[in-house]
């Protein structure tokens, strides 16, 4: 393949700076010793990282986000894998409609989803509960898992399952010993993408949390819209670090590009 020319390399450099700029700025600001936002920081201080410990509401929120992400991604995976097996295995009446329904959360503006969940949950008196939040997140992230598992199912050789059956395996054994291991990369990739999506979700969540279930993005958002002190930057810096670790992990395990394009593991 031909190489990129000098202009292309320069373009790539400028663009990379553009993409990294805001992130670097947030991290830089977090290290300021001052009481206001400054960049570049006049010195290096961990003052604002220590301040996180004095503001337990951020730690509580991060904890809730973590639990929420794990629970929602797991519930969505348990629901999406059988659905993907059904949809990915050839035609049946109603298949296209089912697939469209399960992918529809990607089409509906998130703010519309947010108010719809708010309306529904508050009528049931479930608004702000962890369970309500978790089920709503499960809906929003199901499409991500479904797409990746569908791609794995498409790459599945039906005759491998037939081989297992002909050797005497029962349906559940076939699934556990043959089908699941074959689609596992897609399932794990889908779970991780779903977890990250849930962990970062703001627009829907902001409508359906209450003070006791406030997630990290919502906490950060409401803090930023009131004041911008270096505390939000240090919390954000920690969140960035967490995401970068996850990101590198996902990239090693699955390939970031294929995960986000929604293709199966080759």
């Amino acid at each position: 393949m031909r190489r990129n020319g000098a202009a292309a390399i320069a373009f790539n450099l400028v663009f990379s700076l553009f993409m990294l700029g805001p992130i670097i700025v947030v991290i830089g600001v977090a290290f300021t010793p001052e009481g206001f936002l400054e960049f570049p920081p006049s010195g290096i201080s961990l003052r604002w990282f220590r301040a996180i410990l004095d503001n337990p509401e951020f730690i509580t929120a991060a904890w809730i986000s973590l639990k929420l992400g794990v629970a929602a991604a797991s519930v969505a995976t348990v629901l999406a894998v059988p659905a993907a097996l059904a949809i990915g295995r050839g035609r049946f009446a109603g298949r296209d409609a089912l697939q469209a329904l399960f992918l529809s959360p990607l089409m509906v503006p998130t703010v519309v989803l947010g108010i719809a969940f708010l309306r529904f949950l508050s009528l049931l008196g479930l608004n702000g509960t962890f369970t309500g939040l978790m089920l709503c997140h499960a809906i929003i992230i199901t499409p991500f898992i479904l797409r990746l598992v569908l791609a794995s199912v498409a790459g599945l050789d039906r005759s491998v399952e037939m081989a297992a059956i002909s050797l005497g395996a029962r349906p559940l054994t076939v699934f556990r010993r043959v089908t699941l291991p074959a689609i596992l990369p897609g399932v794990i990739g889908g779970w991780m993408l779903a977890f990250i999506t849930s962990f970062d979700e703001l627009t829907v969540t902001v409508f359906i949390v209450n003070p006791s279930t406030t997630t990290l993005p919502v906490r950060l958002f409401s803090h930023i819209t009131q004041t911008t002190d270096p505390l939000v930057a240090s919390v954000s810096a920690v969140a960035i670090l967490f995401t970068v670790v996850l990101m590198v992990l996902v990239d090693r395990l699955y390939g970031l590009d294929r995960l986000l394009i929604g293709e199966g593991k080759r």
Binding site: F11, L202, L220, T225
Partner: protein, 285 residues
């Protein structure tokens, strides 16, 4: 029903129940809510009328908000296409090592919370922000340029948030092309620019189109970025709905605005798809 169809429906049932109860029903209820009346003392009424829609469609204030929202989305989409196409092509031509590093840099931010990324832009764009301070320090300007609380600032940050989607879509399209076509064009005497515009770009068009659709619809319904960078001064549809629901507490009016947003996004999506299929259906499948 055949045995296979029965099995498929059984496997889908758990997800179907969740989606029916917690997605279809709430959307339907919100649709109905948009026809209810509201008053500040009695709360949400149970009568049904088109009054909320009449209010939105009869007020130039809302036209301005919808107009601004879609203009911001349109400009964001155009800029994303202008930047994303060359960047995807550059990525496509990189050596595997550089490519995996660059993917982490240019696509990785997608996984970082939008709130955090927008905070970065707020720090950069403020009157005492990084950009203004730097410009004043070098002496290029005397007074800070106002970038916070402007549509321009929102577009800039939205481009940052959305451009990875465009790159991914275009890149996916580029990867579907036969790697030998560029060599074939070159062997026939084409120069690099000709190869890009006559061979590569046409094959990337489906990716540009699907990327544009994603970027446009996400930008039109974006919330966090306009909320942080626009505040109360530069309102878009999503932030208006938020205010109606959580500040004014006029849920029926908020629901009507949301339904209009949903309808316009769906109309744009469907007509875009129709257009794409008619123009490109035969060539790209």
């Amino acid at each position: 029903m055949s045995a296979r169809a029965t099995r498929a429906w059984l496997l889908s049932t758990p997800a179907l129940i969740l989606f029916a109860v917690l997605l279809l029903v709430p959307l339907l209820m919100t649709f109905l809510l948009s026809f209810n009346s509201f008053d500040f003392y009695g709360g949400i009424g149970s009568d049904l009328s088109l009054a909320n829609y009449a209010e939105v469609l009869g007020d130039s204030y809302f036209y301005e908000i919808f107009g601004r929202t879609f203009l911001i989305a349109l400009i964001t989409t155009l800029i994303c296409a202008a930047i994303g196409v060359p960047q995807a092509y550059i990525l496509y031509r990189m050596s595997p090592l550089w490519r995996s590093i660059t993917v982490l840099i240019v696509i990785g931010p997608l996984l970082i919370s939008v709130v955090v990324r927008t905070l970065g832009w707020a720090i950069l764009l403020g009157n005492k922000g990084v950009i203004n301070t730097a410009l004043i320090d070098i002496g290029l300007i005397e007074r800070p340029i106002r970038m916070m609380y402007t549509s321009g600032g929102i577009v800039l940050a939205l481009v940052h948030v959305m451009v990875p989607f465009m790159i991914l879509a275009v890149w996916a399209a580029l990867q579907r092309q036969d790697p030998a076509v560029e060599s074939a064009a070159e062997s026939l005497g084409a120069r690099p620019a000709t190869i890009f515009f006559r061979i590569v770009l046409p094959q990337a068009i489906p990716g540009v189109l699907s990327g544009s659709l994603i970027v446009f619809s996400l930008s039109a319904s974006a919330f966090a970025t306009p909320a942080i960078l626009g505040g109360r001064r530069v309102k878009v549809v999503a932030t208006t709905v938020y205010d109606e629901f959580l500040n004014t507490l006029n849920w029926p009016l908020g629901a009507a605005i949301a339904m209009l947003l949903l309808a316009s996004v769906l109309v744009v999506m469907l007509s875009w798809n129709r257009l794409v299929e008619r123009r490109f259906g035969e060539v790209f499948q």
